[in-house]
């Protein structure tokens, strides 16, 4: 901040407002929103920064693909690494056991897939006065999000002594227990206009799972989500809820989708699909597809239109989760009909991008 030059124009940037928030793991977004990282850098980039505080993220599961778990894992790990309190609910007997499967951030430099080599930076001839900005930029990015090694479990230091609340959705016959947990958890992060003291993360896995006793009471589930959303809007927290839409009636599923601020869905990729293999480059490495249906628009009426809606999920170096636009292999002239089935980046088809 040495260069506070004299401002000649009356229109000047108000630095005090623009300055980044003090706590690590937060990023200022447009329209007075603040982002927290999704734990996947590519997803942060796609969503325009991450999940905005106060938003409800819904992920539609595919019964044939477990990748919604990866979204949950990276989301939770990122929160723990940034020492943000966490509430996790799932329909399993021992929800705390899931914490053992969380991925660990890639620590050493050579592990990072995207970080530029520091030595290379030295050899690059950049004007010396810009170097410190480079350094700053790198640091701020590292504070905000990490790359997670999906094969390495999260180390103890991030788990012990952290405020983690685990709830099993199995035991209770209705959702009041989960609702109380959410209410007490969120009451710790009230939204004040001035500053953000701390940020909470809520992860709810397989919300409408048939294992739960309340699974036949759709109206209860809907009103739980409605209240969760209402509570979120006045808190500095983000909740991510995954649900299997096939377990619900279509109208309830639509209602849930309407309530979501950010709506994602997971799609399995069929094994050994010859036609698809011809169409997509890197078909072998793709684990599944991620569809982005809705991007949160808080404090604005302008919708976010993405270039592509469908992304392939793959593991880079078998460790790092990466999301990419679908790359279509060049189609040979004879098989012109395959354009219709590709549905890659246009996002035009209403019923899922890929119809098999």
């Amino acid at each position: 901040m040495a260069a506070t030059n004299v401002r000649s124009s009356s229109f000047s940037r108000n630095i005090s407002v623009v300055s980044s928030p003090q706590i690590p793991g937060l990023k200022c977004g447009p329209n007075g929103t603040t982002f927290i990282s999704t734990g996947i850098r590519d997803l942060d980039r796609i969503l325009g920064g991450g999940y905005p505080l106060g938003s409800l993220v819904m992920v539609m599961e595919d019964p044939e693909a477990p990748h919604h778990m990866d979204l949950l894992r990276t989301f939770m790990s990122q929160g723990l690494v940034n020492s943000q309190p966490l509430l996790y609910a799932s329909p399993s007997k021992d929800p705390r056991g899931f914490l053992g499967t969380l991925p660990h951030p890639a620590s050493s430099k050579e592990d990072k897939p995207t970080a530029p080599d520091p030595d290379q930076g030295e050899s690059l001839r950049i004007a010396w006065q810009y170097r410190k900005y480079m350094e700053n930029q790198k640091n701020s990015i590292d504070d905000y999000s990490n790359d997670f090694d999906m094969r390495k479990p999260l180390e103890r230091q991030f788990l012990s002594g952290r405020p983690i609340d685990c709830v099993s959705l199995l035991d209770s016959s209705d959702l009041s227990v989960a609702q109380d947990h959410c209410a007490t958890f969120l009451s710790k992060f009230p939204r004040n206009s001035s500053s953000i003291a701390s940020v909470g993360r809520i992860a709810i896995q397989s919300f409408c799972s048939p294992l739960c006793e309340y699974s036949d009471k759709e109206s209860d589930m809907l009103s739980f989500i409605r209240l969760l959303k209402s509570m979120l809007m006045v808190s500095n927290a983000v909740a991510i809820v995954t649900f299997p839409p096939s377990m619900l009636s279509p109208s309830s599923s639509k209602r849930l989708q309407h309530m979501a601020d950010t709506l994602l869905s997971i799609k399995a990729i069929p094994d050994g699909d010859k036609e698809l293999e011809k169409l997509l480059t890197g078909y072998k490495d793709i684990n599944g597809f991620l569809n982005v249906h809705k991007v949160a628009r808080i404090n604005t009426q302008v919708p976010v239109i993405l270039d592509a809606k469908t992304f392939s999920m793959s593991l880079k170096k078998r460790r790092f989760l990466a999301l990419e636009c679908l790359n279509q292999a060049p189609v040979d002239g004879s098989s012109g009909t395959s354009y219709g089935t590709s549905g890659s980046c246009s996002g035009s088809s209403k019923s899922g991008a890929l119809d098999f």
Binding site: N31, R226, S249, K254, N299, Q301, P303, I305, S348, S349
Partner: protein
């Protein structure tokens, strides 16, 4: 032609010079949207129109979907300060986010929470009427959320609520603007709720994505069905009741244009 009027205003009949300002007086407007295309921007447009400085109309806003801060920011970008309108008694913002209707807490006199809500609106309308004689608009920003909030007690209450609000429009010359999501009901065999709403409505505005998908310069299309416009005399019958045009949403307003006529 007045440049300040856009296609939506024309479709709603804002170009006709009526004695009592708004063409929506005493009418029910239903906005339908879907997951892909939100129709909330129509609500913002109508809010701005009701609260415009040229008129003295009042607005009662029932917020189920978003808090005040959200609307405040959006409307400010559209050139309308909600906080000032609140102090001027032209806006009554009812925060319904945490509305709960559980079976357990029966309110006094067996009144359901929905009935209580209607009494509240009725009371507010009465109060506003005593101050001003201008048009009052009641807006509900998400009917489906009211449905969710009320279904744990009884789903019929929401329909009753709608009917009561409808009587308000005829009794005390209110307008009613309701947003609902159409695709929720698309899988039902006989979506009674939606059909009754469409039946009650004088104007149905439907926001849909383009069949060719989302694009950066065309965000979707609106279909406006204006049932009342033919009866208004003055050459109304020459106009098509059903209008279709496309829109692009911007921070400071909406661009409307006929398909293929965007310049």
């Amino acid at each position: 032609m007045d440049r300040s009027l856009n296609l939506l205003d024309l479709a709603l009949g804002f170009d006709q010079e009526l004695a009592d300002s708004s063409p929506l007086t005493g009418k029910v407007v239903l906005i339908e949207d879907c997951v892909e295309t939100s129709g909330s921007f129509v609500l913002h447009q109508l809010m701005k129109r009701v609260l415009s400085p040229n008129s003295s109309d009042a607005l009662i806003f029932l917020a189920f979907a978003r808090p005040f801060s959200h609307y405040d920011r959006i409307l400010r970008k559209l050139g309308c300060n909600l906080a000032t309108q609140k102090t001027n008694n032209r806006l009554v913002f009812v925060d319904m986010l945490m509305m709960k209707c559980s079976d357990g807490e029966q309110t006094e006199g067996n009144a359901s929470p929905v009935a209580k809500l209607f009494r509240e609106i009725q009371e507010t309308v009465r109060k506003l009427r005593s101050v001003t004689n201008s048009n009052i608009t009641v807006m509900v920003d998400d009917m489906s959320l009211l449905e969710i909030a009320a279904t744990s007690s009884n789903s019929d209450h929401v329909l009753d609520f709608l009917h009561y609000c409808h009587t308000l429009t005829s009794e005390s010359k209110c307008s009613l603007v309701v947003l609902n999501h159409e695709d929720i009901y698309s899988s039902m065999e006989r979506p009674a709720f939606l059909l009754k709403m469409v039946c009650l409505a004088d104007v149905v505005i439907k926001a849909e994505p383009l069949a060719s998908g989302l694009a950066n310069d065309v965000h979707g299309q609106l279909t406006v069905l204006n049932k009342g416009i033919g009866n208004s005399g003055r050459g109304g019958s020459s106009r098509n009741k059903l209008q279709n045009f496309q829109f692009r949403i911007k921070e400071n307003g909406i661009e409307y244009f006929y398909p293929g006529f965007r310049n």
